[in-house]
Amino acid sequence: MNGFQKALADHQLELNRGRTTTLQVNVGRLCNLACRHCHLSAGPERREVMTRQTMEEVIRFAGRHHFSVIDITGGAPELVPDIEYLLEQLAPCVQATMMRTNLIALLQEERRKLLDLCCRRHITLTASFPSVNRGQADAQRGNGVWEQSIVMLKKLNELGYGRPGSGLDLYLVSNPAGAFMPVDQCTAEKKFKADLAGKWGIEFTGLFTFANVPLGRFRNWLEKSGNYEDYMQKLAGSFNPATIKGLMCRSLINISWDGYLYDCDFHMAAGLPCSGKPRHISQVEQLEEGGAIMTDDYCFACTAGTGFT
């Protein structure tokens, strides 16, 4: 029994799959950045990218099930060849389509076609933006990234993203710039809105604050810097049993770049497949309710404080 299972047992809780309403597709680990908190260790040197053939299988899989939301993540989805094809095919299957962006990959001129598609299909953009402070943001994401992010946010606003009534939602995601817990979401959203609007005239729809998950590059940093044990204690000590009911893994299924199923992106990063055995989407006809969700000690990152929903 791992520490997370023990915490569940201590609170007489079980973590089981509910109705799966969100299909999360991780299209690869290739990224133009190498953020220090990345649980996937994504970066420019990575070569794992979803092929057109796997995309076709994802599209067929989405057609066999009734998802409400499609969530495209990476790496940097913008860098994946045929990403426009995948979005075009998946968007009509669901009520809402979301794509994660690091903003910098989207800023490049060759993404113009992708941006047009996002506007036309009303694809929600969820952008990494850890801090309104340049130093903290660049320490996490690389020198100069903060400044380019501001440029891209202004450009997105010009296209209507984040503007009330435009139908183009722009969410920001803030992860702590280190081994500490995230800021309360409501408080941080107020401050981000005031600072971004006041200093740069930037608007956005909402902010998510998430704890860093101790996997990949972030775990390496925790271990090298001597922060690992304290951070794990902090996460476990912040376990909030009220978060279990609304955890995203209860209503989400993750597909890896090569077409395998996971309960979440973190299990995908850790190589912990759904139900404990690798299953390719081409072999899955039905997603059953009630099955046990895989767990590990890094799951404490999703149950700390107000949780990761």
Binding site: S131, N133, G135, Q136, P176, G178, F180, M181, P182, V183, D184, T187, A188, K191
Partner: protein, 110 residues
């Protein structure tokens, strides 16, 4: 004991209540109320606490409120400015006593 200060002592703070539980309870209740959101935000209160921690030079408080400030959304620049406020008051408090020195000098000098 290798040092008077041990970071592992900080989580044991509540043990101070073992010999005088009622007084400790009142203190910790008061402490919690002080740091709750009021006319000042929790973030602002944490910055004040960080500055005071430096003024009273408490390593436990510096450790605790550095983390709290980060978790309440303050950045290093804001936290550094808060410490300069403490430094200015501490330095100013020393310097303003120079007037007392000057008064004494004046009284005893020709």
């Amino acid at each position: 004991m290798n040092s008077y200060y041990d970071p592992q002592d900080l989580p044991k703070f509540a043990e101070i209540g073992e010999e005088a539980p009622e007084i400790a309870r009142k203190f910790f209740d008061y402490y919690q109320a002080v740091f709750a959101e009021g006319e000042l935000t929790e973030r602002e209160k944490a910055l004040i606490a960080l500055a005071v921690a430096h003024a009273v030079q408490c390593p436990y408080c510096i450790d605790a409120y550095t983390n709290t400030c980060l978790e309440k959304g303050s950045n290093k620049a804001e936290m550094t400015e808060a410490i300069h406020v403490a430094c200015a008051i501490r330095g100013g408090a020393s310097l303003v006593h120079g007037i007392q020195m000057r008064n004494v000098c004046q009284k005893v000098s020709l």
